[in-house]
Point group: C2
Chain length 440, copies 2
């Protein structure tokens, strides 16, 4: 852990203001009250108004980028002085090009359909009652995330588009950048006659403020943690408000007995090396003991710079002289998010399913096979958000699967599972219209 | 509170076995493991098999009803000796006719479509990837409820039909009855080659066992509390597993300025007196200060035996000489569930909405009006699961709205809102099929 990560998992206290617990609770609740009031107005804004303000925010980010970049430089310098790693400093850093990409993302959001008002069901019942179940905003969305300023703009945009007010809690290491971004967004909302309190931050209340937010049942309709495993687990454990768990991906690929060698090499290289730091990258390869493709796959991965953490039986598939550490339970459990891959040999699809049940985070699993029976057994037996046959796990992504914007990839079963789009930031309302109908 | 209610809100200890906390946790976890294993088999059973077993359970309940009735008599006698109220004893009691109705409900469940395997989306993507998002069972469902044996059969049937294993925790006052019912269900499952562990009970582990169940995150996929406000609040507060909150209904009707008198009388009588003890019955009437229909409505309710708890301004609408207690905040907050109604006068739809926001449980609200503007303001402004115009709130019910079986009425926003059918006991799985697709 470094101080670039979100407060719930760190022990920083320097940014916690000197309020009594009661004062702090009252202060955070005052923020949720403001968000609730704003949500009632925003929730009734039509698509055209919301899209206009999204485009205006995009313009304002570019027009006022010097302000954002100055704030960001201050955050980065503070982080560098504190000895933050280059990797985390890179995630924190903005430049004109990155700000341009944030603005582009908002413009793309404006081009997407509005989920609000869409009917999930609509029926005239036999007795003449007209019934509609329509999508409405959840109300107040909260987000707790790490020191990545892009998440600030991303979540604010998604919330606005879906008619929700949002309360942000970013990593303290990005505090100045986030304050600048939120300021620009709020100014633009106000300029467009929408409530600026539709986007609020509780960064000033530090770690304890985040805790009050997590416990604000009834005041916050959903809390979305965005970040690494520790952040998400901390939120899931402490929250009393509904949480959507996203992003943890201990992803498996089973190389079945009948897998085509060329296809297997392509898929594994893509799933492991195209972008190793994201959640849909593969972390464990399960190899059928009679797989003819295994030596070629492991050799290709090794040539691509992937460190293979292997069990004893898998060692036999390695090209002679390949250095490969021995896998332990820690390897089955890890999301490496870098060029490392755990490799285990199994004797059957069933044995692979048992391994997956034990270690998977429920994100995505794939099989490479030519056997219809194996494919069906695998698809039916996997209990994860996504299961793929003869395709790279990198496709498990809202954009790739046609959702447009992606809120995240849910690894829970309730409300939303797998890639989440704007619709998952709504709930429904049943509207029943009669002409004096009474029940007999 | 009486000892007929579920353990979480009572202080009974006589049924808590003498296990150490570690032993108790291990014992309950062993039950969840058995349920998980059974769920994998049941989850893949096709509709015909599930329907056959539901019909067989219905037959077995009738064939073995003497066993159930003997157990039930023992529970009722124990309750009577403990001074349980007649109302609670009535809810606990079974007779041949009630057992017949339980069997009929299972047969109706068998006639409903199976949500499992239904595609929520299905698309071939531009790159040729075939994507389906299909409904799959949640896995392990748990239910905590009061001493009402019908819930045992009801929840077990809903879980089986939707392919879920279920762990039951009923009120200890119904322990013998529940044990008999669960025994019959398990025997029938086994006779039909399905895992008997698809229906399990943890009644033997008492109140502390229920607590372990509520905290079994990852082992229980959803927990459904069925019962009164205290039971539900206790579960919501203590659970670490996902909960679907159901049933609390502090329901409002706004009698608008332009309401038709006859329609208003009909709807109010229906909403308050047809079945006062259920959650979709009206509990507060908001009267527009210029409503011409108010005197007739209040007179009709009073004649029907409804005690009106009124604010000062509403008193003017009462027939001369009507005894009516003065309403306090406690009346705005209460679910009477009997022939009592709180009455408050407001000057506008907006004032009514403010009252509703403050006091509603988010179940259902209705307006009786002839004004399109009032109707639209009310529908847009209410943030509850259901909003009705010129219809009785009694229609907010899964059966009335065409869902077939009803799991309950959700008052939360996530996963399910309003009347819940079988589909709400499922999640989805994304199935992606390629021919060696990799991401570019």
């Amino acid at each position: 852990m470094t101080d670039l990560q979100a407060e719930p998992t760190t022990a920083r206290t320097d940014d916690t203001p000197s309020l009594t617990p009661e004062q702090l609770t009252a202060a955070v609740h005052a923020i949720t009250d403001r968000a609730r009031t704003a949500s009632r107005i925003l929730g009734r804004a039509n698509r055209a108004r919301k899209d206009r303000v999204l485009l205006a925010i995009a313009d304002a980010l570019v027009a006022r980028r010097d302000l954002v970049l100055a704030a960001n430089r201050a955050d980065v310098e503070r982080g560098r002085a504190a000895g933050t790693s280059d990797y985390l400093l890179d995630r924190l850093s903005l430049d004109p090009e990155r700000i341009g990409r944030l603005a582009d993302a908002l413009a793309q959001l404006a081009a997407l359909p509005d989920p609000v008002g869409t009917a999930v069901r609509a029926e005239t019942l036999p007795n003449g009652l007209r019934m509609r179940q329509v999508r409405v905003p959840l109300g107040v969305v909260a987000a707790i995330y790490e020191a990545r300023p892009n998440v600030t703009v991303d979540i604010a945009g998604l919330a606005l588009k879906s008619g929700n007010a949002v309360i942000l809690r970013g990593g303290s290491a990005a505090a100045a950048t986030n304050a600048a971004l939120v300021g620009i967004i709020r100014d633009t909302l106000e300029d467009h006659g929408l409530p600026d309190d539709a986007v609020l931050t509780i960064d000033e209340f530090g770690r304890e403020g985040a805790r009050v937010l997590m416990e604000a049942r009834g005041r916050v309709d959903v809390l979305i943690p965005r970040g690494g495993r520790e952040l998400i687990q901390s939120v899931v454990t402490n929250a009393r408000v509904p949480v959507i768990e996203t992003g943890e991906g201990n992803v498996h690929i089973l190389l079945d007995e009948s897998a085509d060698e060329e296809m297997a090499v392509d898929i594994l290289l893509n799933a492991k090396t195209q972008r190793p730091s994201v959640c849909n990258t593969v972390e464990t390869l399960l190899v059928h003991s009679r797989s003819g493709a295994a030596p070629a796959v492991l050799a290709a991965l090794s040539r691509a710079g992937v460190t293979l953490h292997v069990d004893d039986r898998s060692r036999a598939f390695l090209p002679e002289g390949t250095a490969a550490p021995s896998a332990t339970d820690d390897d089955w459990n890890r999301e490496y998010m870098q060029l490392d891959l755990a490799v285990r040999t199994v004797d059957s699809v069933d044995e692979a399913l048992q391994h997956i049940r034990r270690w998977s985070t429920g994100h995505s699993e794939a099989i490479i096979t030519n056997s219809l029976a194996s494919s069906e057994e695998f698809v039916a037996g996997v209990d994860s958000a996504a299961v793929l046959v003869n395709a790279s796990t990198r496709f498990v992504d809202g954009g790739e699967l046609g959702l447009g914007a992606e809120v995240g990839i849910s690894t829970q079963k309730m409300h939303a599972r797998g890639p989440m789009g704007l619709a998952e930031l709504t709930t429904t309302k049943w509207i029943v219209q009669g002409e004096g109908h009474v029940r007999r």
